[in-house]
């Protein structure tokens, strides 16, 4: 895979080129908050920013997504007419995605598209039609712990292109074939550029001030972790709200509902979250995760044990630190992992 150079003052025209066949989106400030917003062709994206408050998973896994529509048509021989939802009309480029988010979508690919039987067409369609141009972090936040989570401020996983900020220019690394094609026309990087990029990477990794260990979690059996004594304290102040899971790039639970109005209907899926009382509530009224403790434990066990066991060691957390910043009672995932690993 090749290493190219993109001068910042040429970035706008490079992106305008991409915009001919894709819609562009990038992080932008709106009302004091960092959000994902459409990037107009010719507009230069932000190069210096912390991560967006919410993860960009909405691009692939919208909070509310119509899966199909149906109409009750008595004159039709089937009685019911089904309509599949149209696929994404135009391809997209997601510019300056942080490496942790790109990595998260790589992990989610393993869950949404497991095998022939388990292959989510909604997820797949949007993933295949999106080019991810990641921007490496040179100034990680104090809440970032990506280096402990199979990821890092310069991680390439899940991205098509990785950009590394070298001041007035960017080193562009092709990661996938799609990414290679996108940067093919750019000039090659020099050895000096590569050295500068390597140095930036080293400095960024050194700037990650928190780390957590997972060795004991990996070693211990599932039931031992499940029955550990710390859960009573871990769950104590939790509000069982949806904040930590909704902001998280790797949380992917959903709930499917049919909505009807007169003869028309639609099937929608909405984000769900293990903290919710409704999560896993059975029709009978029984709930295998009936208590707050059960629900809190599920979140951490899923991320740090169940996913690693089932997905070849991948972790259900990329260390983006969003939940650390947003949890209203400051339940800090890093502390919980330390307790699990203790």
């Amino acid at each position: 895979m090749s290493d190219k150079i993109l001068k910042k003052d040429q970035a706008a025209s490079f992106l305008a080129e991409l915009a001919q066949k894709r819609d562009l989106h990038a992080p932008a400030l709106a009302g004091g908050r960092l959000v994902w917003a459409p990037l107009e062709p010719g507009q230069e994206p932000l190069w210096q920013f912390n991560n967006t408050a919410l993860s960009p998973k909405e691009f692939f896994f919208p909070q509310t997504e119509c899966m199909m529509r149906f109409t009750n048509a008595q004159d039709h021989e089937e009685g019911m007419v089904m309509h599949s939802e149209p696929e994404l009309a135009r391809e997209r480029a997601l510019v300056n995605m942080r490496p942790c988010d790109a990595k998260a979508f790589g992990v989610l690919d393993l869950i949404f598209c497991q095998d022939e039987m388990t292959d989510d067409p909604y997820w797949r369609d949007k993933r295949e039609k999106s080019l991810i141009i990641a921007l490496a972090c040179n100034d990680p936040c104090p809440t970032c712990f990506c280096t402990s989570m199979n990821c890092g401020p310069h991680s390439e996983a899940g991205a098509d292109v990785l950009l590394i900020d070298l001041g007035d220019k960017l080193l562009a690394k092709g990661v996938s074939d799609q990414g290679e094609a996108a940067i093919a026309a750019l000039p090659a990087a020099t050895d000096d550029d590569l050295a500068a990029a390597a140095e930036a990477k080293q400095m960024a990794e050194a700037a990650i001030i928190t780390t957590v260990e997972m060795d004991q979690i990996n070693e211990r059996g599932l039931m031992e972790l499940y029955e550990a004594g710390h859960w009573d304290r871990t769950q104590e102040s939790c509000l069982n709200c949806g904040t930590c899971t909704f902001c998280c790039p790797t949380c992917h639970c959903f709930d499917i509902q049919d909505e009807t109005q007169g003869p028309a209907g639609r099937r929608v899926r909405n984000w769900d979250y293990c903290m919710s009382y409704l999560f896993t509530l059975h029709g009978s009224g029984h709930n295998p995760r009936g208590s707050k403790k059960d629900r809190v434990r599920q979140r951490f066990m899923h991320k740090f044990k169940y996913i690693p066991v089932k997905r070849g060691g991948e972790i259900g957390c990329v260390g983006c630190g969003r939940c650390v910043q947003l949890c209203p009672v400051n339940i800090d995932v890093r502390e919980v992992v330390r307790d699990m690993n203790a």
């Binding site: 004091g32 908050r33 909070q63 509310t64 102040s237 909704f246 909505e259």
Partner: protein, 323 residues
């Protein structure tokens, strides 16, 4: 008394209560792992009580944790309570969620809590804040290679400006002195911006206010009034509120939740402090607070005797609009 002295007072009180076996647990705040986010802490032993703290970033309403409180030998828990929290405790007692004997109130006059979003906005949306300390009327904010002093008053939470009772209305002991009951703000102003608009503008403002809502329900879950075992939004038979992000569903949630707080909301601001999206949830509860005061002369949680306004009626209640 400054924050350190109050924190010390809280720790001493908590240690004494726990050492003497008078309570099972002390509910207070401890320093969080990120700046500007003190967090709820449950102290069960005198040693744990040393972790308790006090600052302008104690933005959770601890009355929330009294509903499903720890149950131990004494059957009693102590809780650190500023004005609004004490009002919510009174409310819980009135609603029979708790009896006065089951709670030991460690009262503290509220300094007016601070809004971390306002602090962030004041120093620059994208700056990393590594610490924030109160020094008298100022807040010293620090980040990598920079420092900035902010006027405390300018970054106070909206509800703390308009608070009408900063002092605990009930307490078993008081740490520090009582303060002026208000910060001088006018609570009626919460609803004023929309009251000026005509119906279509109101509807637009209503939608806009909640357009970024992600329905995480942190506003509900942080609120000491929202203790229903099954909230109406979670009911399935019948389903009162759709699950989607459609505006109709999002607004239905907010309207009904606000209505369920009628005559009960103490304007503690815990809902707004919890919201990850910075949504002004009090736009609705503020209006109801004002109406309940104007129609029925009632303000929640200020005394232990009066009956909540929607649980009672009078022959001459206003009914001008009824045909």
């Amino acid at each position: 008394m400054d924050n350190q002295a109050i924190a010390q007072g809280i720790r001493e009180a908590a240690q004494r209560l726990l050492a003497e076996g008078l309570v099972d647990c002390v509910l207070g705040y401890e320093a969080g792992t990120v700046p500007m986010r003190e967090r709820p802490f449950f102290a069960y032993t005198p040693e744990e009580a040393l972790r308790l703290t006090w600052s302008g970033f104690c933005c959770n309403n601890l009355a929330n944790f009294l509903i499903r409180r720890p149950q131990g030998e004494t059957g009693k828990v102590a809780v650190v309570a500023q004005g609004c929290v004490s009002r919510n405790i009174v409310g819980l007692i009135k609603e029979h969620q708790l009896s006065r004997e089951q709670v030991h109130v460690i009262g503290v006059a509220s300094p007016g809590m601070l809004d971390r979003d306002k602090v962030q906005a004041a120093v620059g949306a994208d700056k990393v804040i590594s610490a924030a300390h109160e020094e008298g009327d100022e807040l010293l904010v620090e980040g990598p290679g920079w420092q900035e002093r902010l006027e405390r008053k300018k970054v106070m939470r909206d509800n703390c400006y308009t608070c009408v009772q900063r002092n605990p209305v009930i307490h078993n002991e008081l740490i520090g002195e009582e303060s002026e009951p208000t910060h001088g703000g006018v609570i009626d102003k919460v609803a004023a911006p929309w009251e000026k608009l005509d119906p279509s503008e109101r509807l637009a403002a209503f939608g806009e206010n909640y357009q970024d809502c992600i329905r995480c329900y942190a506003c509900r879950d942080a609120c000491p009034l929202c203790y229903c075992h099954v909230c109406f939004v979670d009911e399935a038979k019948p389903q009162w509120c759709g699950k989607t992000q459609d505006e109709a569903d999002v607004l239905t949630y907010h309207l009904l939740r606000a209505f369920h707080c009628a005559g009960r909301c103490t304007d503690c601001g815990a809902c707004e402090s919890a919201c990850p999206q910075g949504i002004k949830v009090r736009r609705l509860t503020g209006k109801i607070e004002k109406d309940v005061r104007e129609f029925y002369g009632y303000a929640p949680g200020l005394d232990e005797e009066s009956v909540p306004p929607l649980s009672v009626h009078k022959p001459d209640d206003p009914q001008g609009f009824i045909k």
